[in-house]
């Protein structure tokens, strides 16, 4: 989930795709597919994506990907699998994707996953707490790296 989120954010922000739900003056560097241009197979995936995210248009990052239908269909299937309810539910995964986006300073991802987490039922207080945790761990990870702290835990036998 974190890997997929990070990659989608990198493409979306790198191509300057406007956030889906917040005002933005961004102009995409490259053209994204309009739903009317989609082949039947791509349209079917677009429809599934819109249902999955409860949106009236496919997110721009997927419309970019749809320029290569084979890659798009497989990457979307992988994304859906990464985010579906399993041992962690989708709501929690959206909170984690939000934290990953916040940490990576992704305008596109923060906007997208904040909305998704809230839509799926995370309260404002829950999002506030998620931001506090992300803030605290951005503090300590930076300190740990700067001081080159070696891990307290090492799963390899005989290393503790």
């Amino acid at each position: 989930m974190a890997g997929v989120t990070h990659a989608l954010n990198a493409v979306a922000d790198g191509l300057r795709l406007p956030p889906e739900f917040s005002p933005s003056s961004r102009t995409p560097l490259l053209a994204v597919m309009e739903p009317g241009e989609a082949t039947p197979e791509v349209k079917a995936a677009f429809d599934e994506i819109m249902t999955f995210y409860a949106m009236d248009r496919p997110p721009a990052v997927f419309r970019w990907m749809a320029r290569d239908p084979g890659f798009f269909q497989d990457y979307w299937a992988a994304t859906r699998e990464a985010f579906r309810d399993r041992k962690l539910d989708r709501k929690m995964k959206e909170v984690l994707a939000f934290a990953a986006s916040l940490t990576a300073k992704s305008d596109y991802g923060v906007d997208f996953h904040y909305r998704e987490a809230r839509r799926l039922g995370v309260s404002e207080q829950g999002m506030t707490e998620a931001i506090e945790v992300a803030q605290c761990f951005n503090t300590v990870t930076k300190i740990a790296d700067a001081l080159q702290l070696q891990p307290d835990f090492d799963p390899r036998p005989g290393t503790r």
């Binding site: 934290a99 990953a100 995370v122 998620a130 945790v133 605290c136 761990f137 951005n138 300590v140």
Partner: protein, 82 residues
């Protein structure tokens, strides 16, 4: 290797030793993590940061377990081995 010396627990004032020792129960471990000790090297930073962090990680609208998952995600995105 660390670029600073990480103090041992007994080198801190009693107030800080008490907090650091309490961390063992909080994390259910038998040692005091290096990060807690490093942060307390500057006491007025470590004490206030420690309280804020403990508050942030406590059960609330999100559970502590969920918050640990968020912390792990942040660490992964930052590629922080510690």
């Amino acid at each position: 290797m660390e670029i600073v010396r990480v103090p041992e627990v007994h080198e801190f004032p009693p107030e800080d030793q008490k907090f650091l020792e309490a961390g063992k129960a909080w994390f259910k471990i038998d040692f005091v993590p290096k990060m807690g000790r490093v942060l307390r090297v500057v006491p007025d930073f470590g004490r206030t940061y420690g309280r804020a962090s403990r508050r942030a990680m406590s059960d609330g609208a999100l559970s502590r377990a969920q918050k640990e998952l968020i912390a792990a995600t942040v660490s992964a995105i930052n590629v922080c081995e510690y």
